[in-house]
Amino acid sequence: MSVDMRTYLAHVELANPITTAAGCAGSGRELAQFFDLNRLGAVITRSITLTPRSGRPTPRIAETPSGLLNAVGLQGPGIDAFLDRELPWLAERGVTTIVSIAGGSVSEYGTLARRLASAAGVTAVEVNLSCPNVEDRGRIFARDPAAAAEVIAAVRASSRYDVPVIAKLAPDVADVVAVARACVDGGADALSMINTPLGMAIDVDAMRPALAAGTGGLSGPAIRPLAVRCLWQVHAALPGVPIIGMGGVMTGRDALELILAGACVVAVGTAIFNDPYACLRILRELEDLLHKRGFERLADAVGLAHRPPGSGPRGRIDLEESSL
């Protein structure tokens, strides 16, 4: 017996819930050396910007306990080269592609969405809101419900009606539910969380910041408890909104944790750096865990940990042997 792993992002069906996280799978080609990208539910691209970007100086990544700090700085080819070379490569292979976009102003996001609207092979648009708003003294969109909603409305308005718009949120806000709600009100069809909270490390030998940029985004298992908490809060407040969960997923158990908290899709980022086969391994482990718990459909596990205490579990519960 196998588990029905299909899942939905708004009306879009994905064959399974595992995707790459934005910015963690290069252009797709690098991973394709290791396995066929069609085996993933989807590929989320790095965040595409209007013009090419060289990114930040090195060192760009520092290791922290169970985490990585990165200040890669959205290095990428820009939307023209992306539409010329990267998207067609994915489209030709029939890879389900969610395109992430990043801008410095509301209008930049709108322009990016418009460019994508006329391209073939865009299954959904993920809006990276963890960018500074150059029109508001560099305040991060994701930290300001109104600004986030404005970006989402602009992207929604410029996108094809059948292409879901996904708002990607950050955890380092006082109230993630308020931002989520604003984005949904602004027209987001789905949410994606969490982006990396801002962190920092200091090299105690050089006695300087470990990253050339000073601060960076924290990813990896260290932040999984923050991701689960954000998913839980937002799914409880907005149970009808599909959520892509991410943050420190290294194994099928971790993916299941996010699903039980409310994610219907799980994106894998940092784990890929540690194991190029991570996405496929996690998918296999997840299916196996669901099967062992008696699930016939992934969809039945989404948000299941929210059921009121005392109500019986849906699946089998005698898990002692499989709990390793």
Binding site: G23, C24, A25, G26, E30, L31, Q33, S47, T49, T51, P52, R53, S54, G55, R56, P57, T58, P59, R60, I61, E63, P65, S66, G67, L68, N70, A71, V72, G73, L74, Q75, G76, G78, A102, G103, G104, N128, S130, C131, P132, V134, G138, I140, T196, L198, M200, A212, A213, G214, T215, G216, G217, G220, P221, T270, I272, F273, N274, D275, P276
Partner: protein, 289 residues
Amino acid sequence: MLTTRRVDAYHALTVVAPGIAERFRPGHFITVAVGGPASSTLARRAFSVHDVKPDYGGTVEFVFTVRGPGTAWLAERKARDTLDMVGPLGRPFPLPRDPVHCVLVGAEYGSAPLFGLADLLQRRGCRVDFVLGAASADRVFGALRARRMGETTTLTTEDGSLGVRGRVTDVLPSVIADTRADVVYACGPLSTLRGVAAVAIEFDIPIQVAVEQTMVCGFGVCGSCVLPVIGEDGVTRMVRACVDGPVFRGERVRFEDIGTIPFDALGAPGAPGGRAHEPGGQTGNRHVS
């Protein structure tokens, strides 16, 4: 894992890995995951392949020095432990078409990948001369093997405990002159490579360098290992050492600009084709720069 041994200041691990051994060419590297199942260290560690052998279907040996937690963990591995290894990775050393004279320069464990290269070059009829250096005698890796293989071998140590007191760059000009070298291959710390490249450029001979820039994934997806390299078209790009290198033409690497984004690099802030305003960093860390 097959064997572990100590060589002076270095540890050497030999691992049964037929898939890697089969596709290996000199200059390739491998990465290993460190710390075991409950490890708190996520970045893979990169090591040059020192040797491959056909035993057991194919073995791979790499050589390392203990630097931090990852290499400390590796140094404690015992024969028969298993190791999570990915490879071969990167672009190997390009080989000359003709039987030319080659000087191979290795600093510290940078000499590890040079012996496989020397072997290939010699089989193509090239003359091979070695220049190996390190801080002290116990950190010069492979001196004996170099002496066996090379037409000449020049050793340098900074403390004078072996060979000439000084650095590889001090002796390189005379070695190039004496051996009438046509091409230089070099591997070692960036500061050494920079000096070696400068010497080769002065002699106007091709120089291939295998760079070591902090890597996390080793296969092109994390973006940690970039350095500014001038392309065929004259445009500087921030390229990834792991997939576009680690071997580069020495004169194309902008050594003095490593650790910066040169203002004329493609997509640099304010550069042609770049953006006028401070671009939105992923996590918006403007307040610290």
